[in-house]
Every structure is written in structure tokens, then in C-alpha cells.
Symmetry: C2
Subunit: 145 residues, 2 copies
Amino acid sequence: MEKVSFEPIGLIHTPFTGEKKLPRQGRFEPEKKGWVEVFPEFEKGLSGLEGFSHAYLIFHFHRSKDYELIQVTPRHHVEKGVFAIRSPRRPNPIGLTIVKLEKIENNRIYFSGPDMIDGTPLLDIKPYTTEIDCYPDADNGWLKM
Amino acid sequence: MEKVSFEPIGLIHTPFTGEKKLPRQGRFEPEKKGWVEVFPEFEKGLSGLEGFSHAYLIFHFHRSKDYELIQVTPRHHVEKGVFAIRSPRRPNPIGLTIVKLEKIENNRIYFSGPDMIDGTPLLDIKPYTTEIDCYPDADNGWLKM
């Protein structure tokens, strides 16, 4: 199929310069802080985001260079398919993290809960809403083990 | 910045052939059904997804040809920035929908809650987990109006 091309809309700045010290998920280290630099030409698009407590950052796992369809998970050490885990080593290395918004100033979004490498290219931002994004009764599948 | 290219990993099949009859969000029309055709070369990557009740589909809004940074929202008729709404008309037309998994058979995922056009190119699938994706106390920002 035809490839799809995207142009980053900004950069994500975090305290993490390498893979080794990355939190497994940002939610579990809320004391860590990051900020998004939205390129100035997109700044207007942030209008209205300031009232939300959380947002999705969709980004490029730009250091991820290959993938395997079956991977051994880091915590449980079981073999799972790449679409059943959140590994950065994916056929399309697209990252998805929900962050807690702290403050928006001009083209900068300050947030807590980063789990990506400093300098990560940002592709999109979407507001998180309880009405469509929160499923408290969801079944966590093999993670229940 | 350098562009990022992705190659679809499958196609999303839904009852919707045009924009006009699309549900605003799939969650609100759970009786609607869709299915994902994961291209055979990626089928193994689905292993382990079967126990989850929900998953993220990340896809290309392939019919979206332009965008505006400020848009009038369809329900509330207010002007909001593109990053504060879930419109398909975005700088990078990336779609994100949480669907309810019904059944996985070989390279097919049957689900409820489609809100995309039939034939939508699929970029990624991620399992939905309550531990990292559910924020029942999130502030819904301007949507509270």
C-alpha cells in the first residue's frame, strides 16, 4: 500500500537522553516533567486545550529502527505479539502517551509524566476526555497475569 | 523537519462509505460493527491481543485533505484549536479510536464502535489498559460547557 507521510508539528523535551533511564510509562513517575515545543506556525491550534487536565501525545519513536512481531515483555518475560504490547519496536513506530497538562504558555505545553526521549518528534496532540477515552471496566488481557 | 513515513499494516472495514453517516464517536453507537484486516505478514503480531476487551486503532484519515488551526466544533458551535478537538482535519491526519474487541480470527479483528470510513488505512494497534489509559477524574476542559 501507499506510504503515508507526516511532518512533525513540534518536539518533546524530557529529562531522558537515552533509552536506559526511560520510565516504563510516564504515569508511574508523575514527578518527572517535560515540555512540548509546538512549532510557532501551529501555536494557534492549541487554543482551548488549556482547560483539559490530560492530553494524548502522538509521536515518532525516532530511535526505533527495527521490530519483531513477537517480543519478550520486559516485566513479565512472556512472548507476546507486538500489537498486544506497547513496545516502541513496532512496524510503524508510533508512540502514544497520555500526559498531565500543567501549563500552556504560547507555543509551550508543560506536562508531567514524560516517558519518551528528549527531542522526540511530535506528530499530533488530542484532548483526553472521560466520555470517549475512559473505560474503567476494560479487561487488561494478559497483563492480569 | 524531516518527514516521517509509515506503511499501513491493514485496512479497517466499516459500514460507512461516506463522511455524512459517520458516528461522531464509535463509543456512542456500539451496535455498529467493523472489522480490521491485518495484512497477513503482520498476523503474528496479534498474538496476545485476544484477552483485552478494548484496543486503540491508530489510522490515517485518508479522506482528510486540508485543515484549519481554528475550527468550529460540530456540537457546541464554538471556535477551538485543532489540538483541543478530535476533528479529522488536522496538520497530521492521524485518527485514534478505542474499539471494543469482539473476536480475533487469524488476521481479522472483529470489533464494535467503528467511526471511520470503510477502507481506512490502519497504522497501528495498541492494547487498551486501565492502568495507563483510564483517568476517571480527568477534566474535560471546554467540553464541560
